[in-house]
C-alpha cells in the first residue's frame, strides 16, 4: 500500500489537477480533437471509452505531451503545458503512463527498467531506487522476476511491471492507454486487480479502456468520446443505465452484447 485509506480520503479534494480548456488538435488537415474541456480533481478516477478513432488515446497522450496540440490550454498540477523542454519534462515527472503494448525496455532487466527513471531523472542513489523498485514489484506480486528480462515474462506480468515502473517515479497522476487490450483474457484479470487496488488507494487515474466491469467498479466518472469530442460524461450508474444520447446508447448496446 502506498497510502493508507485515511490519507486516500483526505487526498480527494476540490483541487483540479488537470484542467483542459478548448483543446483542439489536427493531424495535418484532420481534426482529431474538437474543443475538449475536462477537469480532473485530485484522487478522481476517470474511465474514457469510445469507438476506435474517436480520439480517446490522443486526448490522454496530450496530457503528458506525447502528442502536441494546436489550440487550447492544458494545465497539469498547476503547470501550464507550453512549448518548453524543461516544462514538459517537469510535467512528465508528475504523470505516469501505462501503454497498450507495455513498452518495457527489452535490453534491461525488470529491476533496471524500474530503477532507470529514479536513478537518471530523480537522481536517487541506486540502493534507494532498488529498494523502492522491489517494494512496487511486491505490490504487483512479481518480486521473483526482478532479474529476468521483459521477453521472458507473460503479457500480464509485463503490464504489471509497466505499472510498477510508472509508480516508481511517484507520480501524482496515472494515465492508462488501453492497458488490457493486448492481453489474453486470463491475464486481463491480474492487471485489472492491480489497477483496482491503485484506485482504492486514491491515485488520480485516467484510463482509456473497454473493461466496463472495471468502469462500474472504480470509476467516479465515465467519459464517452466519438469523432474527436466528448459526447457524454457521467457517474457510472447514470452512464450505463440512463445514457442521454442515442450515440452512447448504440455504443453500449454493441459492446455489452457479447
Amino acid at each position: 500500500m502506498i497510502v493508507d485509506n485515511e490519507q486516500a480520503v483526505s487526498q480527494r479534494s476540490d483541487e483540479d489537477v488537470i484542467v483542459i480548456k478548448d483543446l483542439n488538435k489536427w493531424y495535418g488537415n484532420f481534426h482529431v480533437l474538437k474543443n475538449i474541456n475536462l477537469q480532473v480533481k485530485k484522487g478522481e478516477r476517470i474511465v474514457v471509452c469510445g469507438p476506435s478513432g474517436s480520439g480517446k488515446s490522443t486526448m490522454i497522450r496530450c496530457i503528458n505531451r506525447l502528442e502536441e496540440f494546436q489550440r487550447g490550454s492544458l494545465v497539469v498540477n498547476g503547470v501550464e503545458m507550453i512549448e518548453d523542454v524543461k516544462n514538459i519534462e517537469a510535467i512528465r515527472r508528475e504523470v505516469g503512463m501505462v501503454f497498450q503494448h507495455f513498452n518495457l525496455f527489452p535490453h534491461l532487466t525488470i529491476l533496471e527498467n524500474l530503477t532507470l527513471g529514479p536513478i537518471w531523472v530523480q537522481k536517487k542513489p541506486k540502493d534507494e531506487a532498488e529498494a523502492t523498485a522491489m517494494k512496487y514489484l511486491e505490490r504487483v506480486k512479481i518480486p521473483d522476476q526482478a532479474l529476468k528480462y521483459p521477453g521472458q515474462l507473460s503479457g500480464g506480468q509485463q503490464q504489471r511491471v509497466a505499472i510498477a515502473r510508472s509508480l516508481c517515479m511517484n507520480p501524482q497522476i496515472m494515465l492508462f492507454d488501453e492497458p488490457t487490450s493486448a492481453l489474453d483474457p486470463e491475464m486481463i484479470k491480474e492487471v485489472l486487480e492491480v489497477m483496482v487496488e491503485l484506485a482504492e488507494e486514491g491515485m488520480t487515474m485516467l484510463c482509456v479502456t473497454h473493461e466496463m466491469g472495471f468502469a462500474k467498479k472504480v470509476a467516479d466518472r465515465v467519459i464517452f468520446m466519438d469523432g474527436g469530442e466528448i459526447v457524454e460524461q457521467n457517474t457510472p450508474d447514470v452512464f450505463f443505465d440512463h445514457p442521454e444520447t442515442d450515440r452512447l446508447q448504440l455504443f453500449l448496446s454493441q459492446i455489452l452484447q457479447h
Binding site: 515527472r93 503512463m97 525496455f105 535490453h107 537518471w120 531523472v121 517515479m169
Partner: protein, 366 residues
C-alpha cells in the same frame, strides 16, 4: 467433472536420429540429391588431394633463400623470409616491440569489457577504446614518449592494416552514430548537413576518396603545414566508414518501435538519456550483423592503400615478389598468405560479433 491431464512429451522416432539417418535424409534423400552428392564428392576427389600435396606434403618449409625451394610444392620459405616485412613493414628492428605492445594493447582493449563488471563497462571500457587510437599513434611515432622517432614512412605491413582499420572504426563508430542521429533530427540545418555528409562519403568510390585525401586535402590546410600522409588516410577512412555506418545505424533506428521513445519520454528522460540509455543499445543490437559487415569491408579496403603508396601488407607483398632474389613466381604463396591473415582476422571479428549478439539477445534467455 472430468480432470484435464496434459499429455507427456515422447522421444523422437528412431529413424530421424543417428548418423545413418542423417546421411540418408540429407545426402541421399532422392535421386537428384544423390546425383548432386556424388558429383560434388567426385570434384572434391579431383581437387583436394592435389591441393593438400602442393600446400603441405611437397611444400618447402625450411631455409632462408630461394635456392632452398627444391621440391615441387609451395615455397613457404618465401613467406618466412619476408615475414618481418609482411607484418611490421620497415619499422626499425629494435623498435618492433612497440608494434607488438600496441597490438597487445588492442587485444586488451577489446577483451577488457569481457573482464569488467557491468557497471564499469561503460565508464571505463568505452573511454579506453576512444583513447586507444591516439595513444597508439603517438606511441608508434615515439616523440611524445621520448622514444626514438619513427616516421610514418617506415610504418607498414599487416600491423599497419590492423592499426588503420581499428583506429578508423573506433572513431567512426560514435561519429557515424551522431550523423545518423542528425539525419533523423527535426532541425532542418543539422539534418541537411548530415545528409550531405553521409551521401557524399557513401556515394564516392573509396579509391577516389584516397586520391582526394592525398592530393586535395592538403589544399584545405593552411599553407606551409605538412600534414602527414598517413594522417590524411586515417581521416579519409574515418569519413568513408562513417558514411556507411550512419546508414547502418539508420536502419537500426527504424527497427526500434515508437513505443520505446514514448516510454522513455513518459519517464521524463532527457533527449540524450533517452538516446544513449534506451535507443543506442537496441540500435546496436539489431544492427550488429551489418556493423560487422561494414567493419570487415573497411578492414579489407585498407589494402587499397597500396595504390597511393602506403606500405600495407599487399604492397609489401608486391615489393617482395619483385625482389631480384625472389623472382620466379611466388605470387601464389604470397597472396595465399595475405588471404590467410585477413581471413583469420575477419573470422575472429565474426566470432566476437556473434558473441556480442548472444550477449545482447535478451529476448528468449531463460
Amino acid at each position: 467433472m472430468r480432470e484435464f491431464k496434459p499429455q507427456p512429451a515422447q522421444p523422437a522416432p528412431i529413424e530421424s536420429a543417428g548418423v545413418i539417418g542423417w546421411i540418408r535424409e540429407n545426402l541421399f534423400s532422392n535421386v537428384p540429391n544423390s546425383i548432386a552428392t556424388i558429383i560434388i564428392l567426385y570434384f572434391l576427389y579431383l581437387i583436394v588431394p592435389g591441393m593438400i600435396d602442393w600446400l603441405f606434403v611437397s611444400a618447402n618449409w625450411s631455409g632462408s633463400q630461394q635456392a632452398d625451394c627444391t621440391d615441387d610444392g609451395a615455397c613457404w620459405v618465401f613467406v618466412s623470409a619476408w615475414m618481418q616485412q609482411f607484418i611490421y613493414g620497415s619499422y626499425p628492428d629494435d623498435q618492433i616491440w612497440r608494434i607488438n605492445l600496441s597490438l597487445l594493447l588492442l587485444g586488451a582493449v577489446i577483451a577488457a569489457p569481457y573482464a569488467m563488471p557491468n557497471a564499469l563497462r561503460n565508464k571505463v571500457g568505452v573511454p579506453l577504446f576512444l583513447v586507444y587510437p591516439f595513444f597508439c599513434a603517438a606511441f608508434l611515432d615515439g616523440r611524445l614518449f621520448g622514444l626514438e622517432f619513427v616516421s610514418t614512412d617506415y610504418w607498414g605491413g599487416f600491423s599497419l592494416n590492423i592499426f588503420l582499420a581499428a583506429a578508423s572504426i573506433i572513431i567512426a563508430f560514435p561519429l557515424s552514430f551522431l550523423w545518423a542521429l542528425g539525419r533523423r533530427s527535426e532541425m532542418p540545418f543539422t539534418r541537411s548537413v548530415c545528409i550531405v555528409l553521409i551521401e557524399f562519403f557513401r556515394g564516392v568510390p573509396v579509391l577516389a576518396l584516397f586520391f582526394m585525401g592525398s592530393v586535395m586535402l592538403p589544399l584545405f590546410f593552411p599553407e606551409g603545414t605538412n600534414v602527414d600522409k598517413l594522417l590524411r588516410v586515417w581521416i579519409v577512412l574515418i569519413l568513408f566508414m562513417s558514411g556507411y555506418m550512419a546508414e547502418v545505424f539508420r536502419g537500426g533506428f527504424q527497427a526500434i518501435p515508437q513505443g520505446q521513445y514514448e516510454a522513455a519520454d513518459s519517464l521524463g528522460l532527457s533527449f540524450w538519456q533517452k538516446t544513449l540509455l534506451i535507443i543506442l543499445p537496441q540500435v546496436i543490437k539489431v544492427s550488429m550483423p551489418n556493423i560487422l559487415a561494414t567493419f570487415i569491408m573497411l578492414f579489407k579496403n585498407t589494402t587499397f592503400l597500396l595504390i597511393i603508396g602506403i606500405f600495407e601488407i599487399l604492397s609489401t607483398t608486391q615489393t617482395a615478389l619483385s625482389n631480384s632474389n625472389w623472382l620466379g613466381g611466388h605470387a601464389a604463396e604470397g597472396y595465399l598468405f595475405v588471404a590467410l591473415v585477413f581471413w583469420v582476422c575477419c573470422f575472429g571479428m565474426s566470432m566476437i560479433s556473434a558473441n556480442i549478439e548472444r550477449k545482447l539477445d535478451t529476448s528468449h534467455r531463460k
